[in-house]
């Protein structure tokens, strides 16, 4: 089992105990941070990769774990905070277990992405950029997803959903609720 797989397995194990779905691991659980640090040889230069792995486990970067990394690798917390806020890929607040990204690019826009957006917002009861109260679904709008021929499109957890329309999108989302 290689290192990436072992991290993934660890994640699965953590998630299994809490009824599945991403982002349900709790901060500072089961030596997660230490294991990730070991994988990267405890090198401060690997901090971006370390934070990526952390986010892979928790779905966001929990404050206690950032403090732990700061202590273990002797990186000032200000530095970690700067990195975590600089890159869009990092989040400091938890997101829902499922992530829905709706494309608002030109082609999707022309084919009615605005109406789809309204439909999703109605269905989930949240605005774009928000997370449902039960932490199940986060919804955001993005720019072009690069498959304009299938417009309008959205990505739900890494799976592409194509040729959306505002009448049926609610049913599509139902299984994630």
């Amino acid at each position: 089992m290689n290192k990436v797989d072992s991290i993934r397995a660890m994640r699965e194990k953590l998630l299994a105990g809490r009824g599945g779905g991403a982002g349900t691991a709790r901060p500072q659980e089961a030596g997660v941070v230490r294991k990730i640090l070991e994988k990267h040889g405890r090198r401060a230069s690997q901090i971006i990769a370390i934070l990526h792995d952390m986010q892979g486990v928790y779905n966001y970067l929990p404050e206690p774990d950032l403090r732990l990394i700061s202590r273990e690798l002797d990186i000032p917390l200000t530095r970690l905070y700067a990195i975590a806020t600089f890159y869009k890929a990092f989040r400091l607040v938890p997101r829902g277990r499922h992530e829905v990204s709706l494309c608002m690019g030109t082609a999707c826009h022309v084919r009615g992405a605005m109406r789809v957006k309204d439909a999703i917002e109605r269905e989930l009861g949240i605005k774009a950029g928000g997370t449902t109260d039960d932490m199940r679904v986060s919804f955001e709008t993005v720019r072009c997803l690069g498959c304009c021929g299938q417009a309008p499109v959205m990505v739900v957890d890494e799976a592409l959903v194509t040729k959306l329309d505002h009448l049926t999108v609610g049913t599509t989302l139902e299984k994630y609720r």
């Binding site: 404050e63 917390l77 530095r79 905070y81």
Partner: protein, 250 residues
């Protein structure tokens, strides 16, 4: 090392930057983010000059705070092109901080009084002096940058964590515009925490275990007067200067 500065032949030691050499020769180059106690940073770009390396035809615009003097280098510090570049930068700075006296005066020197860009009202010009003083000189790393682009700002971790701050005030001291008030924020916090108030100069490592009896009103305290008086600058910066010159000698 021989080089030419504004048409005059000059000498400088190896490793000297163009900015240092020019200042030693009494030539004024505006530089917001440069500080003698800190490593060169190259953020403000106001210290740009034109240089031509030995044997090269083309003149290049470089940041003098980062550019080392080279043998046979020709440096021009106030050409029309350089003035134009600085003017533009100052216009941007003035648009960001229209009420900061420091920025206003600097801009006025280059004839910029009214920027054509829409104005903000933020005294922080993101020169990073406070952040670098806190990490390079004080070693506390209590403040840093956060976010990026137009939202970039100076912040403590998670916006609230001041626990690493010694309330030394070095950041407030070096801030050219008075935007950083971390020192006062921390002092207020120390006051609120109650208990034994340890003297700021103990936290800074100057005094062994002194306790403050004045509720951190340092302007009434003779310890504060003494250290500031002796130094003529912020005491932390004096220590840094001796450290840095020691490094240069070694």
């Amino acid at each position: 090392m021989k080089f030419v500065l504004n048409g005059k032949k000059r000498m400088a030691a190896k490793g000297t930057t163009v900015l240092e050499a020019a200042r030693a020769a009494g030539i004024d180059i505006p530089a917001v983010c440069a500080h003698e106690a800190l490593e060169p940073y190259g953020a403000c770009r106001l210290c740009v000059v034109e240089v031509r390396e030995k044997g090269k035809k083309r003149r290049r615009v470089v940041a003098s705070c980062l550019y080392p003097v080279k043998e046979g280098l020709e440096v021009e510090t106030e050409t029309a092109k350089i003035r134009k570049l600085r003017k533009f930068l100052l216009e941007l700075l003035l648009a960001r901080s229209p009420h900061a006296l420091y920025v206003k005066e600097l801009a006025a020197r280059y004839g910029v009084t009214r920027p054509r860009f829409s104005k903000l009202d933020d005294d922080c010009i993101l020169c990073g002096l406070c952040v670098r003083v806190c990490s390079e000189v004080v070693g506390a790393n209590a403040i840093g940058f956060s976010l990026r682009g137009i939202s970039r700002k100076i912040d403590s971790p998670f916006g609230i964590d001041h626990s690493r701050c010694l309330a030394c005030g070095a950041c407030t001291y070096v801030c050219p515009t008075g935007a950083v008030q971390m020192e006062y924020t921390r002092i207020m916090e120390l006051r609120r925490e109650g208990g034994e108030h340890r003297c700021r100069y103990t936290l800074m490592g100057f005094l062994p275990d002194a306790v403050c009896s004045l509720n951190y009103e340092c302007f009434r305290c003779e310890i504060d007067q003494r250290y500031r008086g002796e130094a003529g600058t912020h005491p932390m910066l004096v220590r840094a200067r001796t450290k840095r010159s020691g490094k240069a000698r070694g």
